[in-house]
């Protein structure tokens, strides 16, 4: 495990978070340190997405972002959609040329990522011809190519099968120093993350290291209000 340093990567103190002008989370205090692998759990509407968005904005230049709505460009190929994560690293002329005809260096870089997320066959098909799971993998590919130390994902593997999900989460954890994920699958959370944060009723209802959790702690999060 990476040693925890004293400087938090993300820090929120008594924050009120709003979504569409409604308060979703109030009096929120939270610190996340480098090297942590955090899972956010909680029912839908608990404010996971809003919290993740806030975290991303704190360090937008260090975060590889994988939102729930992948926001891919449907008429472009998976190749281009993945490459879009690397636009900032290249000159505009190179990007334009690559849009018209995929260039060799970009092909090499992207196809390596495609192999790791099992998307080689569909790489040059447009995203509107791909299945939901393939689109989600494209979105993960876009996050991976950014080569950033922090990964923030909002249900990044919700649409892929169990076996794929495990592979992808493993890959994500390998390639990023710090990981913050919203997950609805408790087993996945316990398997891949070191710290679980549960949201309920506009507040943090649970925040504990994985080792100190009991099954009943988690179950209480989803009980009817």
């Amino acid at each position: 495990m990476t040693a925890l340093t004293d400087q938090p990567l993300f820090e929120l103190k008594d924050r009120r978070l709003e979504y569409q002008e409604k308060t979703v989370l109030d009096n929120l205090s939270l610190s996340i340190y480098p090297g942590e692998r955090v899972a956010l759990v909680g029912g839908s509407g608990a404010g996971k997405s809003t919290l993740l968005k806030t975290l991303r904005e704190q360090r937008s230049d260090q975060v590889a972002w994988c939102p729930q709505q992948p926001g891919l460009v449907p008429m472009l190929s998976a190749f281009h959609n993945i490459y879009m994560g690397a636009l900032d690293r290249h000159s505009f002329i190179y990007n334009l040329g690559n849009l018209i005809k995929p260039l060799p260096a970009a092909r090499r870089e992207v196809s390596e990522i495609a192999r790791s997320i099992d998307l080689e066959q569909q790489l040059y098909s447009s995203v509107d011809k791909l299945s939901g799971g393939q689109q989600q993998r494209t979105s993960i590919g876009r996050a991976l190519i950014q080569q950033r130390p922090i990964f923030i994902g909002d249900e990044p593997v919700a649409n892929v099968d169990e076996y794929q999900a495990e592979r992808l989460l493993k890959l994500i954890c390998q390639q990023h120093q710090t990981v913050v994920l919203a997950l609805h699958d408790i087993e996945q959370a316990l398997q891949f993350c070191t710290r679980i944060i549960g949201l309920r009723d506009g507040a943090i209802a649970l925040d504990a290291a994985r080792d100190q959790l009991t099954a009943s702690d988690l179950a209480s999060l989803y009980d009817a209000v």
């Binding site: 968005k53 991303r56 904005e57 937008s60 975060v63 972002w65 939102p67 709505q69 992948p70 926001g71 460009v73 449907p74 008429m75 472009l76 190929s77 190749f79 281009h80 879009m84 636009l87 900032d88 505009f92 990007n95 334009l96 849009l99 995929p102 092909r107 196809s111 080689e120 066959q121 790489l123 040059y124 098909s125 447009s126 509107d128 011809k129």
Partner: protein, 474 residues
């Protein structure tokens, strides 16, 4: 390498769109080869600098004068167009489904208001009635088309749940019209703006609207005076949304009939002559029909007309239309970020859209006329005029369409955003807008002939000037 040729090539929806665009551009390039694009004036910059210098110094007095002289006329024609609206509604309801009505509407709107005016001037003279008919007829065709399409798109559920389905008119007033009313009103107010432009343009054939004074001033080189007329036109269209109010419409209509009752001295002798003689092909006049000699003379007349005027006119119209279409498209792609929240926020966007509205306000006919003064007669002024006017319209619409796009929080900015995020997403809609303008561009291409660019309109106009109506009609 790992790539095999199959997986190597792109198989995307964007590729199909790219292919379409490529062929369009290629055809336009071919057209460029046979288009006449020479700048024939000796020193275009001189005239341009004169215009620029003078357009900043129009006197207030001239301005007041202008508005006085022209506004009364200006209101008339658009008001006429509104009074035809019920007709258009009826048209579009009663039979937009039927091919005959559809074809009839297409026919009356495919003839530009300037041609209608040239036709009616022969019968009703330089009167307000001429202006009214010239605008109302093609506009009724256009409105009928749009209304018809809106009615077709209406949600069917209310009609299916209503017992009124057996009575067509009841069904129409209860389940179709109310649903289509709002978009109809929006589109009609846009046509009102067009009608004001058109009524200014009718000045170019002699009706005393703003355009008449504008053309006279430009032609005589009184650029500061022309600028005043021009600003008056901009002001009129720019302030449209303030004075075009539902409650004020009845007042305007009454005022119109007070100032400029649509009447004309119709000389029935002239009408009779026009119908029975002037528009009858020359060889057929006063001859017994269906004889061999008449027939062969008519065939000669027609083939001569075809070889010397219709065919070259047709080719030029298509060539000019194609080049203008592609130029319009390129310019629109360049301009649309001005009205897109993805590129400019608040004030930036307001200013940008203001610029687009300004460019759209300039009637293409006027732009072409200015271009002609500066560059001399060739296709160039026409291409520039059609391109600027139509590109501004498409750019405005595409910009508005881009409001609906939601980009990811980490989407790139600037040119990368334009080419990777936005362009692929809006391109299909952009093509739809562009092809929709195609019909309009071809129609406008023809009328630019009146300015001396040798499209079909050129030959039609010369025939009118030589009083050979039979040629003009065929």
């Amino acid at each position: 390498m790992l790539f095999n040729s199959g997986a190597n090539s792109l198989d995307t929806s964007a590729k199909a769109l790219r292919k379409t665009s490529f062929w369009f551009a290629a055809i336009a390039l071919l057209c460029l080869l046979c288009a006449d694009l020479d700048i024939s004036t000796v020193d275009p910059w001189h005239e341009l600098s004169l215009m620029a210098a003078r357009c900043t110094q129009p006197l207030g007095l001239v301005m007041v004068n202008t508005v006085n002289q022209s506004c009364q006329y200006l209101f008339l024609c658009p008001a006429g167009c509104r009074s035809w609206q019920p007709l258009a509604v009826l048209f579009s309801h009663l039979g937009y489904g039927s091919n005959i009505v559809r074809a009839f509407c297409a026919f009356i709107r495919s003839i530009h208001e300037l041609f209608w005016a040239l036709l009616f001037i022969q019968i009703t003279g330089l009167s307000s009635l001429t202006g009214l008919l010239a605008i109302a007829i093609p506009y009724a065709g256009t409105l009928a088309k749009i209304y018809g399409e809106l009615f077709e798109e209406v949600d069917l559920a209310p009609a299916q749940n209503s017992p009124a389905a057996k009575q067509p008119l009841t069904h129409f007033f209860y389940t179709v019209l109310p649903l289509a009313w709002r978009p109809m009103a929006t589109y009609t107010s846009y046509r009102f703006e067009c009608a004001i432009r058109s009524s200014a343009i009718l000045g170019f054939v002699g009706l005393p609207t703003l355009g008449f004074h504008l053309e006279t001033a430009l032609g005589e080189g009184h650029y500061s005076e022309a600028a005043a007329y021009f600003y008056a036109l901009l002001l009129l269209i720019g302030t449209l949304r303030f004075w075009l109010q539902k409650r004020l419409l009845p007042i305007y209509l009454l005022a119109v009939f007070y100032y400029l009752p649509p009447q004309a001295q119709v000389s029935w002798d002239l009408v009779a002559r026009f119908i029975t003689e002037d528009i009858v092909p020359a060889p057929l006049r006063g001859e017994a029909l269906f004889t061999a000699s008449t027939f062969s003379e008519f065939a000669n007349w027609f083939s001569l007309l075809w070889q010397q005027q219709i065919w070259p006119g047709l080719i030029n119209t298509v060539v000019l239309g194609q080049i203008s279409l592609v130029f319009t498209g390129l310019l629109a792609l360049l301009l649309f970020p001005l009205n897109s929240p993805l590129f400019f926020r608040r004030w930036g966007r307001t200013t940008g859209d203001g610029l687009l509205i300004l460019l759209r306000t300039l009637p293409e006919y006027l732009l072409a006329f200015l271009g002609l003064l500066i560059l001399g007669p060739s296709m160039l002024p026409a291409i520039l005029a059609l391109g600027i006017h139509n590109a501004a319209i498409i750019a405005h619409l595409v910009g508005r369409h881009s409001e609906e796009l939601v980009l990811r929080g980490d989407a790139s900015g600037g040119l990368n955003r334009y080419f990777y995020e936005v362009l692929p997403r809006i391109y299909r809609q952009f093509l739809a807008f562009l092809f929709y303008r195609w019909e309009v561009i071809l129609r406008e291409t023809a009328i630019l002939g009146i300015l001396g660019i040798s499209t079909l309109g050129f030959y039609i106009d010369s025939a009118f000037e030589e009083f050979r109506f039979d040629r003009a009609l065929y």
